[in-house]
C-alpha cells in the first residue's frame, strides 16, 4: 500500500545535489539575454522614447518599444473568472501612450548577456509627463479622480453583489449590531526563485519556450493566439521551479515579449527577472478594505452579515480576472450558518502593480475579517469566543450545505464535514478550558498570554477536468504523463503513489512527466488546490484502466478469470488462492508479442469543488516592554478528506503557515504617496526566517472524505495559510484584553501593540 504513506519524495535526489534544472540554469549556444526597461512613474504619459544611444552599443541585438510590436496585438486575456466588462482594462505587453504603475514594461533590450543588456538599458531615454498617481481605493472612487480605463468609465471596474435573506430586516431585528472597518495589506507569494524564460527558434522556425509552469497548456494556447502562430509551431517545456504560490506561471507581458524577441533575432533569448523587478512586476495580491456590519443576539448567534469590500486590483486586470473578488465573497461566511448575507465587492483600479491570486486567495482576507469579527462579537457580549463559534457553526446534519453564494461559476456547496468536532478537537488540544487559569497566573508573574482560534473553510479541486496518460516502458517503469505542473509541491511523488497503489508496483518505478506540450497531450495545470484532487483522480482512473488491461492479458495467458487476478508487489497473483503467477515484466513481454499496447488515457471531469475545513489556534505571549509577540504554541487541525502522503500534507501546512505568518505580521508591499513601491528588497519586505516561524503542531484529519472523487481527497495546499492572521490577532487581543488594542488591520505591527500598552489598561482586571 502506498497511498497514505509518508514516503520520501522522488523529486529530491537531483535537487539535493545541485542538479535541479531551473530555467536560469539552462544555457544554449548563442544565447542572448533580455532586460526590460520599466516605468519609474506610477502614472505618466510617455512622450518619447530615445533608443539611439543604446543601439550604438555593439552587443545590443534588439530593442523593442510599444510601437515595434504588431499593431493588431491583443491584450493579455483573462484565464480564470473572465469577465467581458473587464476586457477594456487588460494589459498589453509593452506600454504605448501611458504607464499606469511603476514597473510597467516600456521597452525590451536583448544583448549578448545580462551585464551588456543592463548597460544598454541605462542608455535608453524615456521622456514622461508625470500624472497624479492613484494609490488608494477611496481616492480612486472620488468623482474628481482621473479614470484609468476610460472605456470602462469608472475606476470602480466591476461590482459583484451576492445576497441571501432580507439583510435590512435581519439587521433591524438583531438586538445587537457591530460595525467595523478592516484592512488586509498588499503582499504576495514572493517565491525564492524569480520568474524567468528562455525561448529559441529552431531551423524549422519552431519556437520552444522553457520556463512556463502552473498552467503550461493554457499559456501555450495564449501565446499561440497572441503570436498568431499555430499551436503546433510552439513547444512549452516546464523546468524545475523555485516556488509557485499563485503568482508564478501566469501569463505576464514577458511571456509574450521573450518568445517574440527570440523569433525576431533567431537566437535563444533568456530573461531572468531580478528581485526588485519581481517585487514590482509580478502579481501582487490581497489588498482589501472591508466595511462590515453584523447583527446578532445576546447568545452570540449572528443573524446578518453585511460586508462592502474594496479590492485594490492595481493598474490592470490580469489573467485572474475577478478570481480573488469572487472567492472572497464566496467563502466569506466560512463555516457558519448565517441567515442573512450581503456582500458587495468593488474591483477598483489604482496606479499600483496589477494583482492576482496568492495561496488562499480571498480566503486569507475573508477569514481574517470574519474570524476577527466573531471575536469582536464575543468581546461585546462578554462571551467565550469559542462558544460564539459553536453557536453559529453549520452542523454535520446540514451537509451538504449551501449558503446560496456562488464562486467561480458554481454554487458554493460544502460537500461534507464536521465543523463542531474540529473546534472541539482544537479546544482540547490547546487546553482552552483551563487556559484562563494559566493566563491569570501568568499575569501575576507579569507575563501576558493569550489564546486565539480561527476557523476556516477552504475550497479545492477546481475542474473542469484533468488528464493523465499511463504507459509501461520496456524497462518496467511506468510513465505517467499528467496535465499538472510541479511548482515544488511534490506532485510527482503524489501521482507516483497513486499509480503505484493501483498497479502494485513500487512508487519509485513511476516516472511522472509534466509540462511538456509535445509530450503531454493536454492539461489544466496546478492551481486552486486541484493537483491531487483532480489530477490525482485522473491518474487513479488511468492506472485502474491499465491494470484491467494487464490483468486481461494475464487472464488470457493463464486461462483464469481476470476478476480473480490482482497485482501485488509487481507480481500477478491469483486472489482466491494467493498463487503467484508471474511478474509484471513477463506480462509486458507477452502483451508486446501480441501487439497489445499497455497504455491508457483518462480525463477526469468534475464540476463541483470540494471544501476542506479546519482550525488554527495560537497561543502567544506579549512582552509589555517591547510589544514583541512570541508564539508559544501553534496548532492546525485540518480535515483533508484523505492524505495521499501525510508527510507532504504536513509540509504544505507548515510551509503555508509560514506564509500566513508573513502576511499576518511582517510582509507588506507598501507604496508611498507618489505610487512608488517602498518595500522592493528583502531588507524591507520581510519574509519570515527560521527565527520567526514557530514550531507548528499539525493534526491531519480524515473525518470526511470527499464524495466527489475516488480518492476522497480534498487537497491541502492552502489551509495552512488562510487562518493565521486572525488566530494570531485573536490571541494577541486576548493577551492584551485589558488594553485599548483594536486589531483590525494587517500586518499586525509591534508599534501598534506598544502604543496600546503605553496607554495602559483601559479595563480594570
Amino acid at each position: 500500500m502506498t497511498i497514505g504513506k509518508s514516503v520520501k519524495r522522488i523529486e529530491d535526489p537531483r535537487l539535493l545535489i545541485g542538479k535541479g534544472q531551473y530555467v536560469g540554469d539552462i544555457l544554449l549556444p548563442d544565447q542572448c539575454e533580455a532586460v526590460i526597461v520599466r516605468s519609474p512613474h506610477a502614472h505618466a504619459k510617455i512622450l518619447r522614447i530615445d533608443t539611439e544611444k543604446a543601439k550604438q552599443l555593439p552587443d545590443v541585438q534588439l530593442i523593442l518599444t510599444g510601437d515595434d510590436l504588431p499593431k493588431d496585438l491583443e491584450a493579455i486575456p483573462m484565464r480564470l473568472a473572465p469577465n467581458e466588462a473587464l476586457t477594456m482594462a487588460l494589459q498589453y505587453p509593452l506600454a504605448k501612450e501611458k504607464v499606469l504603475y511603476a514597473g510597467e514594461p516600456v521597452a525590451l533590450i536583448v544583448a549578448s548577456n545580462r551585464y551588456m543588456a543592463e548597460d544598454a538599458a541605462e542608455l535608453i531615454d524615456v521622456y514622461y509627463e508625470p500624472l497624479d498617481p492613484i494609490i488608494d481605493v477611496h481616492q480612486a472612487l472620488h468623482p474628481d479622480t482621473e479614470i484609468l480605463h476610460p472605456k470602462i468609465g469608472s475606476n470602480d471596474l466591476f461590482l459583484l453583489h451576492s445576497k441571501k435573506g432580507d439583510i435590512d430586516e435581519l439587521l433591524k431585528n438583531s438586538p445587537y449590531q457591530l460595525e467595523e472597518d478592516l484592512y488586509v495589506q498588499r503582499h504576495s507569494g514572493i517565491p525564492l526563485e524569480t520568474r524567468g524564460l528562455l525561448a529559441f527558434v529552431d531551423e524549422n522556425k519552431r519556437l520552444t519556450v522553457y520556463g512556463p509552469t502552473k498552467v503550461v497548456h493554457f499559456n501555450h494556447q495564449i501565446l499561440s493566439r497572441l503570436l498568431k502562430k499555430d499551436k503546433k509551431e510552439i513547444r512549452f517545456i516546464e523546468t524545475d521551479v523555485g516556488g509557485g504560490f499563485g503568482p508564478r506561471g501566469e501569463f505576464y507581458p514577458e511571456d509574450y515579449l521573450i518568445p517574440y524577441a527570440a523569433l525576431k533575432i533567431g537566437k535563444p533569448v533568456k530573461w531572468i527577472e531580478d528581485r526588485l523587478e519581481h517585487m514590482k512586476a509580478t502579481n501582487h495580491s490581497r489588498e482589501q478594505k472591508h466595511h462590515v456590519v453584523v447583527g446578532f443576539d445576546e447568545t452570540g448567534r449572528i443573524h446578518a452579515f453585511k460586508d462592502e469590500i474594496y479590492v485594490d486590483t492595481g493598474a490592470y486586470i490580469r489573467t485572474h480576472g475577478i478570481t480573488v473578488p469572487v472567492l472572497t465573497q464566496g467563502l466569506l461566511a466560512g463555516p457558519y450558518d448565517i441567515q442573512g448575507l450581503d456582500f458587495k465587492v468593488h474591483v477598483v483600479a489604482t496606479n499600483k502593480t496589477p494583482t492576482g491570486t496568492y495561496r488562499g486567495p480571498g480566503r486569507f482576507e475573508g477569514t481574517f475579517v470574519r474570524e476577527r469579527v466573531i471575536d469582536l462579537v464575543a468581546k461585546k457580549l462578554n462571551l467565550d469566543p469559542t462558544v460564539v463559534r459553536e453557536r453559529n457553526l453549520i452542523q454535520p446534519n446540514q451537509m451538504p450545505y449551501t449558503n446560496g453564494i456562488s464562486a467561480l461559476g458554481q454554487l458554493v456547496e460544502y460537500d461534507s464535514g464536521d465543523y463542531p468536532q474540529i473546534l472541539a478537537i482544537a479546544k482540547e488540544e490547546m487546553d482552552w478550558e483551563n487556559f484562563h487559569k494559566r493566563k491569570a497566573q501568568a499575569e501575576q508573574n507579569g507575563k501576558f498570554i493569550g489564546l486565539g482560534f480561527a476557523m476556516f473553510v477552504e475550497k479545492s479541486g477546481l475542474g473542469p477536468w484533468e488528464f493523465c496518460e499511463v504507459e509501461f516502458a520496456g524497462n518496467g517503469e511506468l510513465i505517467c504523463k499528467t496535465g499538472l505542473a510541479d511548482v515544488g509541491q511534490g506532485v510527482e511523488t503524489a501521482l507516483a503513489q497513486i499509480c503505484s497503489e493501483q498497479l502494485g508496483i513500487p512508487y519509485s518505478k513511476v516516472k511522472v512527466i509534466h509540462g511538456d506540450t509535445d509530450v503531454v497531450e493536454k492539461g489544466n495545470g496546478s492551481f486552486a488546490t486541484r493537483g491531487t484532487v483532480v489530477g490525482g483522480s485522473a491518474a487513479y482512473y488511468a492506472s485502474a484502466e491499465l491494470k484491467k488491461k494487464i490483468l486481461q492479458v494475464a487472464a488470457d495467458q493463464y486461462h483464469l478469470p481476470s476478476e480473480d487476478l490482482d497485482i501485488k508487489e509487481e507480481v500477478i497473483t491469483q486472489v482466491t488462492t494467493g498463487l503467484k503467477l508471474c511478474s509484471i515484466s513477463s506480462i509486458l513481454k507477452v502483451a508486446k508479442a501480441q501487439g497489445i499496447e499497455l497504455r491508457e488515457k483518462y480525463t477526469f471531469s468534475i464540476d463541483h469543488m470540494s471544501y476542506p475545513y479546519g482550525i488554527h489556534a495560537a497561543e502567544v505571549a506579549v512582552d509589555l516592554e517591547t510589544g514583541k509577540v512570541k508564539i508559544e504554541k501553534y496548532y492546525i487541525a485540518y480535515d483533508v478528506g484523505k492524505a495521499i502522503n501525510p508527510m507532504l500534507v504536513k509540509g504544505q501546512l507548515v510551509g503555508g503557515m509560514a506564509q500566513g505568518l508573513g502576511g499576518a505580521m511582517y510582509e507588506e508591499l507598501r507604496y508611498d504617496d507618489n505610487g512608488q513601491l517602498i518595500t522592493g528588497s528583502f531588507m524591507d519586505y520581510l519574509l519570515p526566517s527560521s527565527m520567526e516561524v514557530p514550531e507548528i503542531d499539525i493534526n491531519i484529519l480524515e473525518i470526511s472524505p470527499s464524495p466527489l472523487n475516488p480518492l476522497g481527497a480534498k487537497g491541502a495546499g492552502e489551509g495552512g495559510t488562510v487562518a493565521v492572521a486572525p488566530a494570531i490577532a485573536n490571541a494577541i487581543s486576548h493577551a492584551l484584553e485589558k488594553y485599548p488594542l483594536h486589531l483590525t488591520s494587517l500586518p499586525i505591527r509591534p508599534e501598534q501593540i506598544r502604543e496600546a500598552i503605553k496607554k495602559g489598561p483601559s479595563i480594570r482586571g
Binding site: G18, G242, G244, S690, M691
Partner: protein, 183 residues
C-alpha cells in the same frame, strides 16, 4: 567589453582547479553558474539577504552574489555539487533533508545545505534553537523551516554516529583539531 578588461582568476572549486578570464564586475555567483556551469548555486535576491547563493570560500560561508569573481582568485570554494564526498553518495545533510522532507521547490536548498554544513562543522551537538539561529540567514519560502531544523538535527546525529564508528565513543576519543578529522 574589450578583452583587455578581462581578469584572470585561478581558484579551486570542489577540489578541482579552474582558470577563467572574467570581467572584474562579474559576480562570483555568475562565474560559478555561467563560466563553470555549476548551476547548483542559486541566485534568489542578488542583495545578500536570501542566502540561496551561499558557498564555502576558504572555510567560511559567503554570499556568492555579494562577491566578485575576482575576489575568489586563489581561493578554495565548495559548492553544493561538492558536498558529498563522492558523486554517487549523499552527504549526511543531503540524506537527512531527503528523509525529513526538508525541501519542496529546492531553490533555497543548495544555500541552506552549505550554511548547515558550515554550522555543523562548528556545532557538533546543536539544539533545535541553535539550529534555527544557525540557518536564520537563509530564507526558505516553502517549508516553514520546521523540517529543515529536523533534517539538520538528524544530520548531526548521522555525522556523530559515523565519527563514533570510526573513532570510538565520543567520551573516550582523543581530541583532534577539527580540521584533521575528516568526516
Amino acid at each position: 567589453m574589450s578583452q583587455s578588461n578581462l581578469r584572470n582568476i585561478t581558484f579551486s572549486v570542489n577540489g578541482k582547479g579552474y582558470n577563467v578570464q572574467v570581467e572584474p564586475r562579474m559576480l562570483l555567483s555568475d562565474v560559478l553558474r555561467d563560466e563553470l556551469r555549476l548551476t547548483g548555486t542559486h541566485v534568489g535576491c542578488e542583495h545578500g539577504i536570501c542566502g540561496a547563493c551561499t558557498v564555502i570560500m576558504d572555510g567560511r560561508p559567503i554570499r556568492s552574489c555579494l562577491a566578485f569573481g575576482v575576489q575568489a582568485d586563489k581561493a578554495e570554494i565548495k559548492t553544493v555539487e561538492g558536498l558529498a564526498e563522492n558523486s554517487c553518495d549523499f552527504h549526511p545533510l543531503q540524506q537527512a533533508f531527503w528523509e525529513k522532507h526538508g525541501l519542496q521547490c529546492g531553490f533555497c536548498t543548495s544555500g541552506m545545505l552549505m550554511t548547515a554544513y558550515d554550522f555543523l562543522e562548528k556545532n557538533h551537538n546543536p539544539t533545535r534553537e541553535q539550529i534555527r539561529e544557525g540557518i536564520s540567514g537563509n530564507l526558505c519560502r516553502c517549508t516553514g523551516y520546521q523540517n529543515i531544523v529536523e533534517a539538520v538535527e538528524l544530520a548531526a546525529e548521522i555525522i556523530n554516529k559515523k565519527k563514533e564508528s570510526l573513532e570510538g565513543p565520543a567520551d573516550k576519543r582523543m581530541v583532534f583539531p577539527s580540521a584533521e578529522v575528516e568526516v
